[in-house]
Structure formats: C-alpha cells, structure tokens
C-alpha cells in the first residue's frame, strides 16, 4: 500500500470516512503466506474503541493446493475497515466469512480483491451485515481471474439488514475475467427484518428485543457457519450477540 493518503475518487475508498482514514493512516500491510498444501484459519475482530479509527490491510498469498479460511467481525470503532488482497495459485481455496454490525454513525467496511492466478482455484465469500442509526456498512468485492485462471470457481454473497431508515448499505461486486472457462457467482440483497417473523416470535412470549436479536443473529450466522472449530464458532457467535444487543 502506498503511503499517500487515498481520496474518495479512488473507487475502493468511495464510501470511506475520510477523517477516520486520515487518523488511521499510514497502514502497514499484514502478510499471510499459506504454503503449498497447507490449511490455515484466521479470525480477526476490528478495534472496538468507541469513536476510534482502524484500518487493517492483509496481503495474502495462498500457494498451490493451500487453503485459508478467514473470518472477520467488524463491529467496532467509529471507522473500521478490513481490506484483503488475496492471490490464489493453482487449486488453492479461499473462504471468507464477514460480519459487519454498524450502529450510530459508524462507517464499517470490508473490501476484498481475490485474484485467481492459477487454474482450478476456488473462493467463497459470504458477507452479512446489519446497519442501524445513520451507520454505513460497505462491502466492495472484486474477483479477478487471470488468463491462467481456467476452471476458476468463485462465489460471493452479500446480504444486509437495515434496522433504521437512516442506515446505509453499499455493495459492489466486481468481476474482471481474462479466462474463458470459469464460474463466478455473486448476489447482493438489502432488506429489513421480517415483521411477520417478529410477530410470530413475540406471540410465543419472546420480548421484542430478544426476538430481534434472535432473528438478526440467525441472519448473521451464515457468515460464521464455515468456522470449522465448534468452540471458536460458538465464541464468535457469542461476540456477535454481545455486539448486537445494545444496538437492537
């Protein structure tokens, strides 16, 4: 990453909180190298200091046949951005599960560029976000397939729940494909909590806040389902619940 402060003209920073960016700048990339045939799992949580600004930038290389499962809990601070630049060699796999829980005036982002540089690599990205107040939640996801990336299988799914009228969710899937035999799927939806489901829960005796928490947690859990270790997944779900409750 360059030392120059980015501007909004740069597509990748278009929805950013520039005052927050200035406070967090400069950002040193964190490097993750997954060796050929190796399997790694990482779970990161953004800084939750109220009003704080944090940017994490990961430069990730997954060598042939290797795999990385990466999970992000982005719920904290005033501005929180997690950016991933991932390069996949032949037959490598990248799995991403990202959760954004934004409230108040928070601006929270997940930005990914996944480059399929070798044949037969696969990637799957699931991002779920909840935004309330006048918060902004953004996912920018680019999948690039080089000429060498034949038989690429890449999938992206983004879903956002808006809890208040003033909240914003931005989603921008982007595909750049130079190989001719690839499968790239993406989908994005933005919606509200289902009023009928809420009534159903309440009619059984579940108080409104608990009902909203239950539905929202279920919605977000898609992004955590790929955490293989039960204890880690349950801990992540508990962190999500703790982040949600004061916001509902």
């Amino acid at each position: 990453m360059t030392a120059l402060l980015p501007t909004r003209k740069d597509e990748a920073w278009r929805y950013a909180d520039m005052a927050g960016v200035a406070r967090a700048w400069p950002v040193a990339p964190e490097v993750i190298d997954v060796a050929a045939g190796e399997a790694l799992a990482r779970l990161i949580e953004t800084d939750t200091t109220p009003g704080g600004a944090s940017i994490r930038h990961f430069a990730i290389h997954i060598a042939a046949g290797g795999s990385l499962t990466f999970h992000i809990l982005n719920a904290g601070g005033g501005y929180g951005r997690v950016a991933l630049d991932v390069t996949l060699d032949a037959g490598a796999h990248f799995e991403l599960g990202g959760v954004i829980i934004a409230a108040g005036e928070q601006v929270l982002e997940i930005v990914t560029t996944v480059t399929h540089a070798g044949p037969g690599a696969t990637s799957n990205q699931i991002i779920r976000c909840v935004a309330g107040g006048t918060a902004t939640a953004t996912y920018l996801g680019k999948v690039a397939v080089t000429r060498a990336g034949q038989k690429t299988d890449a999938a992206q799914s983004f879903k956002a729940l808006l809890l208040d009228r003033g909240a914003t969710a931005n989603a921008k899937p982007e595909l750049e494909i130079f190989a001719d035999d690839v499968k790239c799927a993406h989908g994005a939806t933005v919606g509200e909590l289902d009023a009928t489901a809420l009534f159903y829960l309440e009619s059984r005796g579940i108080p409104p806040v608990a009902a909203r928490t239950l539905l929202t947690r279920a919605f977000l859990s898609d992004a955590l389902a790929s955490i293989a270790d039960d204890a880690t997944r349950e801990a992540a779900e508990a962190r999500v619940t703790a982040a949600l409750e004061p916001r509902l």
């Binding site: 309440e202 009619s203 005796g205 409104p208 239950l214 279920a218 859990s221």
Partner: protein, 246 residues
C-alpha cells in the same frame, strides 16, 4: 376467562370487526365460523396483538385484566396462544431453540423458574411424540422445509409445551389431510381441561367432528349473528352462510 365486549377493530383505516361480543369461560371450547372476509383472522390477530390492527372501540378482558393494554409477548405469558393459519418459516433458528427461548421468556415474565435443559427436552420430546412429529425435525430451522401438515403439527407441539390458558386456533384445520386432521384434533382435545379454553376459528365443519365444541358462533361482517350448539355447524354445512346473513 375471556370477555370481548362490543369490539370494533380494523386495519389500514378499514373497519373489519363491527361490534363483536363474546364470552368464553374456562373449560369451554368455542368455534367461530364464518365466510371469507367476515373478520375471523382479524379477531385472532387483534386478540394476539399483531401490529397494524387498530382497535377503535370496545374492550377485551382476559382473566380480569385489559388484554388490549398488553404487548404480544405479555399476552403470551398471560396465557394466550395463537395457532397461526400460516406458520412462519425462520431460517437459522432451530425449533428447539425457539421453543425453549419462548417457554423461558414466559416463565421469567410470570416470575417462575426457567426450565432446565433436561426438563425442556422431556416436554418437547413428549409433545413431538404425541403429535407424530419426529423429534429430529425439531432440531431443524423453524418450519423450514416442513409440509403444510407438519407446520400445523408443529404449532400443536408449541401449544403443548407452552400450555396456554386460552388457545386461539386460526384455521388450524386448513391444509390438513384426514390423518393429520385426526392427530391435530387429538392434540387439541388432549389440551382440554377445566382451566383452559379454546377458540377454534374455521371455515369448515369437518374439524368439529373431531373437536366437539360447546358453542358455535357464526361471524358475518364483523359481528356474531348467531350462536348455538354443535348442531349449528351441521346446519351451516347444509345451508351455507348465505341464510345467516339475512
């Protein structure tokens, strides 16, 4: 137990219930029959407190308290259960988790001790077995992938575990084949007791062959136009609602 007096209610500015009065005592089963659009579902939603329905007149007391002043979850804790005509699917929330959360939320609100995991499991297993719903299905997401009949059985499982004082069953018989109708009816009959009451809301007389009501009411244009015994249901089946409207 339940006293509805001159109730006027509607949705989106349209009046649907137009002076409905009804008294249901503990131990009784009442059936409300009526044509489409008479206000049957509106009555059940107003009693359960669904948002969007506005009460413009009259009163509803339940065990001496003003039912309309309570939030939906408080009504449930007070003992009101609404079996929905179209039970909702909730992906990502298991039936067991949903039901245990509901049971314990009700108990907490009533100042009772929460059910332990073991106690809850025993209740849920017994209810599922009685209603012919494989216990394994309760581990799945609420109603997701359930057939129409399985959804209705699941409503009855919830009712058996939650043990309400007043069951409002909105077209619980719709979408059921004969076998499922029998099982669901047995579920309703099993809940009959001197301290409980049931309000069956239905189009058809068929359910009333299995669950014999003490009273049958005919609801037309938002008010009860006639009340009788079980024989009234047979008369309706024979003559239709047309004759009642007059």
């Amino acid at each position: 137990m339940l006293k509805i007096d001159n109730l006027h209610a509607g949705i989106d500015g349209k009046t649907i219930l137009n002076g409905l009065s009804l008294t249901v005592n503990a131990g009784e089963v009442h059936a409300i029959m009526g044509p489409n659009g008479a206000g049957k579902s509106t009555l059940s939603y107003v009693l359960a407190g669904r948002a969007g329905y506005a009460v413009t007149g009259g009163s509803v007391t339940f065990d001496g308290q003003d039912l309309l002043a309570l939030a939906p979850h408080e009504r449930a804790a007070a003992g009101v259960f609404l079996g929905l005509q179209y039970p909702v699917e909730i992906p990502g929330v298991s039936n067991l988790m949903f039901l245990r959360t509901a049971l314990n939320a009700q108990r907490t609100l009533r100042g009772e001790k929460e059910a332990s995991g073991a106690e809850f499991m025993k209740l849920a297993k017994a209810a599922a077995e009685d209603l012919g719903l494989p216990y394994e299905m309760l581990k799945r997401s609420v109603n997701q992938g359930f057939s129409g009949g399985e959804k209705k059985r699941n409503e009855m499982v919830q009712m058996a575990v939650l043990e309400p004082k007043l069951a409002l069953l909105d077209e619980t018989d719709s979408g059921l084949d004969i076998d499922a109708l029998r099982v669901v009816s047995e579920g309703i009959n099993r809940m009959r007791s001197p301290d409980r009451a049931t309000l069956l809301i239905t189009h058809y007389q068929r359910l009333l062959d299995y669950v014999v009501p003490d009273y049958v009411h005919v609801l037309v244009a938002g008010r009860i136009v006639r009340t009788g015994g079980p024989e009234l249901a047979q008369e309706l089946e024979r003559d239709g609602y047309q004759s009642m409207a007059a």
